[in-house]
Amino acid sequence: MRRIYDYQIKELVKKLCIQANTVLRRDVFAALKSALKKEKNKIAKRILSAIIKNALIAQKEGLAICQDTGMAVIFLEVGQDLKITGDLYKAIQEGVRQGYKKGYLRDSIVDPILRNFLDFNPAVIHTEFIKGDRVRITVLPKGFGCENKTKLRMFNPTVSLKEVEDFIIETVRSAGPDACPPFVIGVGIGGTADYACFLAKKALLKKIPNSKFQIPDKSKFSNFQIFKLERKLLDEINKLNIGPMGLGGKTTSLAVNIITYPTHIAGLPVAINISCHVLRSATEVL
């Protein structure tokens, strides 16, 4: 059985926290650049240029891309054949604390009732088991300007797809300028209420397709349906004329990412988790 130690996890989490907060994801950066090329609105172009310049400055100088360095959300995928020696969760929390401190990130975490305990952690940890003897760790720092716009709706099973689409578009419209567009829209459809919310967050990790992206194989019918729905929603959202900072233009969203899961005959949970344009995450396998 392959063995790793908790301090290796701690060091990796520490590194990923700094990396995620200072180096914008490549697919997000590419999507912003491609949006700038396509955008016609003058002020939108100016803002997109500033956003791109901001990412370059952050990376070059090791500064946080955004002052809201978020609440760290950790996706932990543990190989079932891996033996981890030591305290895994403690190592992750300590890695977050040390990473946020070393990276001069922001101490944004408070007690929910007293609201007075300032520190860098705890993080929210989602654990899943996978095959093999490796562990895959993703750090997603989630800012709250956009997190505050999260929506969950429990639809009737007889709902039309059109009503689900309208709910998604309406959620984006009401998030508007406050949540720092252009967005990436994470959508979880199915499962239970809590699981749909988890899927919506996880959907933010899906890579944004670039212009050379291959359209998926039609034979994988379910995937193709989702792909078509993502594209349709993206087109409609980009007609809302919200634009960067909400000042107009066709760049309201860079992507719509959907993950589905089977659900109960009596319902259809749909969760939406919006990310601002500073969609940050960093992943590594140990």
Partner: protein, 173 residues
């Protein structure tokens, strides 16, 4: 491109129109949620304010920690609407400008019109870029609140867009 300096005077503010792009030189005070609540409590109890609001600009911002060798860390705007319930009384007390991101409530727009003030936007989600326009930082009050403390920032060429002007014009209307 218009240029303004702090402290603001009413005439200067009245010259600003919705969608004007403006460069700011001078002082802004970072005040966010908890500090807003505190300032409003002080005003209601007629206590002593940590700084004089007259003609000043509040910046809705909670910077990161300051990296070694830098003046300030990332320092972009936070969502303004969370401050809406506290804003009218601050405007009544003499505040003339605010910088943040996103929409404001009807009550805030009315108060901006009444007191002939101004609400600006700056590039949201661009905290690293905006740190380049900050030349000095000083802690004014509530140091224990960390990123939610009140800081005095001296800025040069700080980029702004007028979102609500003194006549009540709103860029999001």
């Amino acid at each position: 491109m218009k240029r303004i300096k702090t402290p603001l005077n009413k005439k200067e503010v009245e010259n600003l129109k919705v969608a004007d792009e403006v460069l700011l030189d001078g002082i802004v005070y970072t005040v966010r949620d908890i500090a807003h609540k505190t300032l409003v409590e002080i005003i209601r109890k007629k206590g002593e304010m940590p700084f004089d609001l007259k003609g000043q600009i509040i910046y809705y911002c909670g910077p990161t920690n300051t990296p070694k060798g830098k003046i300030i860390g990332a320092c972009g705007p936070t969502t303004s609407s969370r401050m809406d319930e506290f804003t009218p009384i601050l405007l009544k007390t003499g505040l003339l400008g605010m910088i943040g991101k996103g929409r404001r409530s009807k009550k805030v727009i009315e108060a901006i019109k009444k007191y002939k003030a101004v609400y600006f936007l700056t590039y949201s989600g661009c905290g690293a870029l905006l740190s380049k326009y900050v030349k000095k930082i000083r802690t004014v009050a509530y140091k224990e609140l960390g990123p939610e403390a009140i800081y005095e920032l001296e800025v040069k060429d700080f980029p702004l867009i007028v979102a609500i002007d003194s006549k009540g014009g709103d860029i999001y209307a």
